[in-house]
């Protein structure tokens, strides 16, 4: 079927395209303009046409997300919804997640923290998220098998083989490390860890572990660079950790998760008790010097949320700030996880400053493709806040109104108020489409050039950007309409993207023996077999870099 999206303002920064024009679609792909008569014409006059949004970092599946629902059953309201899907109205459910991303025009989302020991459960849950293509990053950096291998100095090839095997077994799209060595150190009594601190028992450091993973990811040719959650998240002075980690990458590709939570410079030099001030400028300068690096922002939104992290060292440290006063911490087979409720107080000084820093970072960015929009859902706030955040980025007046309603610390400790910049639609597309797609190495999306997957969002152009981006007029996934006028009209399933990677037979055998010895059951019990998905064709291969 030939479809024509006609007369919309087409925004595709990868083709320097921002003009009224047409988009042609056939067999689920964007095609060249045709002189044939289309079977279906969509009138996009007065609308903005973009590629479907791509999410790189949102906690949407896995054991800790499950626990967060049990800890805070009322966080998301359930409400009646139109017929069509039995569970889309169930607040916080997999169907709710898929529906709410799709309504905003997002068509791909990645869960960044899949513990390999819990891969099957995570993948089953991801597969139940309708409408979107999904993916998950396998978390490494605290497991005894890897740390032991590094301690024994077995060499880069052994690390590469173990990483490849882990990604293949868990069917991940990439690799993440979370406060590398931190969970292990926590189990052995440590309460703080910086880049070069010694990790008890193993004699390693975060620098050594991360360095080995950076090399392995390059060797294997994982399209997505190593996704790094640094040490010292959220602590005044964390900007030092960010910059030190950036330099430790030594030019290798690296992605920083939720950078806002590290852009906290000491307010008084040498005194962490004096609180923090924005380090957005310092981070922006460091990013300019290191074109090998990207980050997602982890913007804060006001209100009740729950923080979900495999960084158990950090979550344990943050337990006393739990609001309401309850929290879960699990020392898992490697990382485990911490689930700590948190209230970003609308007019509180700390929350106000965090909110300002995230916006300031994006507004100081000279390359929005490398500074991707996230809220680290739900850690900084729910992903459903994206439309409001986009509004503030695009509209200085709306931003000033919001600042005026918040704590005055924003003016004292951040530079947000003096920034005149307003994002253009093209820059928003870089922040939410082309940037994240490039970062994940998904060349078939994030743009509208010929051959692109026909994941397309059509928005009514509206000065009220919140309204515009909250409810897309039309969303196509693989060329099929899934959302019309902000409501889901077709509950189809997307695919889970997995990296196509060979594992080394010798490493398989060795790992099987290791796991058998440690768990009383081998590699088989870590597998994610097709058979577990009730005959549905769930996975789609993504190739490694040549």
């Amino acid at each position: 079927m030939l479809t024509l999206i006609k007369g919309g303002r087409v925004i595709d920064p990868t083709a320097s395209r921002d003009a009224v024009g047409d988009v042609w679609i056939e067999d689920g792909r964007v095609v060249a303009p045709s002189d044939r008569t289309p079977d279906n014409t969509i009138d996009a006059a007065g609308c903005v046409v973009m590629a479907g949004g791509v999410e790189v970092h949102s906690h949407i599946a896995g054991g800790n997300v499950v626990l967060s629902r049990l800890l805070l059953p009322d966080l998301y309201a359930s409400e009646s919804a139109p017929e069509g899907h039995p569970f889309a109205h169930a607040g916080g459910s997999a169907a709710w997640i898929g529906a709410n991303y799709a309504r905003m025009g997002y068509t791909t989302a990645v869960e960044p923290a899949m513990p390999p020991s819990n891969a099957l459960a995570t993948q089953l849950e991801l597969a139940d998220i309708p409408l979107l293509d999904r993916g998950a990053l396998a978390v490494m950096g605290n497991d005894d098998q890897l740390l032991e291998l590094l301690r024994q100095r077995e060499g880069a090839n052994a690390v590469r083989d173990l990483v490849a095997l882990t990604v293949a077994t868990s069917r991940g799209l990439g690799v993440k490390c979370i406060n590398a060595g931190g969970a292990s150190a926590f189990k052995d009594g440590a309460l703080k860890l910086s880049l070069d601190d010694e990790i008890p028992v193993y004699g390693l450091s975060t620098r050594k572990i991360m360095g080995a993973l950076l090399d392995a990811v390059e060797e294997i040719g994982v399209p997505h660079p190593l996704h790094v959650h640094c040490n010292n998240l959220g602590i005044p002075g964390a900007d030092d950790s960010f910059v030190a980690t950036l330099e430790a990458a030594e030019g290798r590709r690296i992605h920083f998760a939720h950078a806002q939570f590290y852009a906290y410079g000491l307010s008084e030099p040498g005194n962490p008790a004096g609180g923090f001030r924005s380090a957005a400028e310092r981070i922006a300068q460091a990013m300019e010097k290191h074109p090998n690096a990207t980050y997602d922002v982890g913007q804060v939104a006001f209100g009740q949320t729950v923080t979900i992290s495999l960084d158990i060292l950090r979550q344990f440290g943050g337990r006393k700030g739990a609001n309401p006063k309850k929290w879960i911490l699990n020392a898992g087979d490697a990382e485990g996880g911490g689930v700590v409720p948190f209230l970003y107080k609308p007019r509180g000084p700390v929350s106000s400053l965090q909110w300002a820093i995230g916006l300031e970072m994006m507004l100081l960015s000279n390359d929005p493709e490398r500074t991707i929009l996230t809220t680290d859902h739900p850690n900084g706030g729910p992903f459903t806040e994206y439309p409001r955040i986009i509004h503030w980025l695009m509209d200085k007046e709306a931003r000033d109104r919001e600042i005026a309603s918040l704590h005055k610390v924003i003016g004292e400790r951040s530079g947000l108020g003096s920034i005149e910049r307003e994002y253009t639609l093209s820059e928003i597309a870089q922040l939410t489409r082309s940037g994240p797609a490039k970062l994940l190495g998904l060349t078939d999306r994030g743009h509208l050039r010929e051959g692109a997957r026909a994941d397309v969002a059509v928005y009514r152009d509206d000065r009220d950007r919140t309204a515009m981006f909250a409810r897309a007029k039309l969303v196509l996934k693989d060329g099929e309409a899934i959302v019309e006028d902000g409501e889901v009209v077709n509950w189809r399933s997307g695919r889970t993207l997995e990296l196509s990677v060979e594992s080394d037979k010798a490493m398989e055998k060795r790992t099987d023996a290791y796991l058998e010895d440690r768990f009383g059951t081998g590699l088989d019990s870590f597998a994610v077999p097709d058979e577990a998905f009730a005959g549905h064709d769930v996975f789609e291969d993504v190739a490694c870099r040549a």
Binding site: L70, S80, A94, D144, G332, A527
Partner: protein
């Protein structure tokens, strides 16, 4: 060919599925109970419950809710079976139930091998356990008030709120001195109050050392159900779909209560793995989906009975793996059974949906 019965008479699965669809299509307040099955069947059970407006009442509820109530009130601090076996230098076993579990043999047979306690001895302490002498341990008696009261006492000693040369003072000193302590218990036995006290104790101990709870899983796939329930509905398992929005309420959606008070008018018992049959099942029109070859695979178990493959044995299935503390998949041993519980539930749902659209 799978066995099936309608009103005691043997029939084929298709006829039984049709009869079940007929029953649930006209039921006003149906109950889905048991839910002792693989993930595929549990997903399908939610799908059917959503369509027919049923409530869910798992056989694992008493054990699950001893934990879930505490979890939503105060949280938890835990570890995995393999981390406990690999790292713990001190293991406290609370109550009687854990002593019959294979896990206790595993942990007693090993010494810490990872982390800062590696190479040291492993001490096993018992609070209120049997003195069967098979596993070397130091026993501490329970206070007259029972387990929960004893744990509260112990917590007071560990926090320094109580002092004196008592057995619990000695026990508290041992807890504080551990490098990686683990307290093992069965939530159903310890009870909600006891679980709350234990979790409080564990959290207190972490102000000075590393200490974790290890609640043993119920034997009825309740942990698998929690996962499926949470990602499907955003809620814990005991939910009702009567108003088309999942409502969580373990009291209201207790199947036995609903039947006793005459609310329920039809029931589905899902037990493709062995679990106790509800004693009220015969008191209302019901469908039983049971494992082939089980004692319940007979015509008198319920009005409609369908025997299906047993997950992990005669059919593949994703199940809670107690040793791993997560979901794992097992393939069928040999040629897989013709029919799975998930397929039967999906077929019942498909017939009901078809009936609905035919009526429009």
């Amino acid at each position: 060919m799978m066995a099936a019965w309608v009103k005691g008479g043997a029939t084929d699965a298709d006829a039984a599925i049709e009869a079940a669809a007929h029953l649930f299509a006209s039921a006003k307040v149906p109950v889905v109970t048991g839910l002792c099955a693989d993930v595929g069947a549990l997903r399908a059970a939610y799908g059917l419950a959503g369509v027919i407006g049923a409530s869910l009442d798992p056989v694992a509820a008493p054990s699950l809710y001893a934990e879930l109530g505490v979890l939503s009130r105060t949280g938890a601090m835990g570890t995995t079976p393999a981390e406990a076996v690999g790292r713990a230098d001190l293991v406290v076993v609370v109550g009687n139930a854990p002593w019959d579990r294979p896990f206790l043999q595993d942990i007693a047979a090993a010494k810490p091998r990872r982390g800062r306690a590696a190479g040291s001895e492993r001490t096993i302490l018992s609070l209120g356990g049997p003195s069967n002498g098979q596993i070397r341990h130091v026993a501490y008696p329970v206070e007259p008030g029972g387990l929960a009261v004893s744990i509260a006492q112990l917590r007071a000693f560990a926090k320094g709120h109580l002092a004196g040369e008592t057995a619990y003072a000695d026990l508290a000193r041992r807890l504080v001195a551990a490098h990686y302590g683990v307290v093992v218990y069965e939530p159903g036995e310890v009870g909600e109050l006891g679980v709350e006290m234990l979790q409080g104790l564990v959290k207190d101990l972490n102000d000075v050392t590393r200490f974790f709870a290890l609640p043993l899983a119920d034997p009825f796939q309740g942990r698998a159900l929690i996962q499926v329930a949470a990602w499907t509905t955003g809620q814990a398992p005991s939910t009702g779909f009567g108003r088309h929005v999942p409502e969580h309420d373990p009291w209201r959606f207790d199947g036995a209560r609903q039947v006793r008070e005459g609310e329920a008018d039809a029931a589905l018992w899902l037990s493709s793995l062995p679990s106790p049959r509800p004693d009220w099942l015969a008191s209302l029109p019901s469908v039983a989906i049971v494992g082939e070859g089980s004692a319940n695979a007979t015509g008198d178990t319920a009005e409609i009975v369908i025997a299906v493959g047993v997950p992990g044995e005669s059919t593949g299935g994703t199940l809670w793996n107690e040793r791993r503390g997560t979901l794992t998949h097992s393939s069928a041993a040999g040629q897989p059974a013709a029919l799975t519980a998930g397929a039967v539930l999906d077929a019942i749902r498909a017939r009901i949906t078809a009936k609905d659209s035919a009526a429009c």
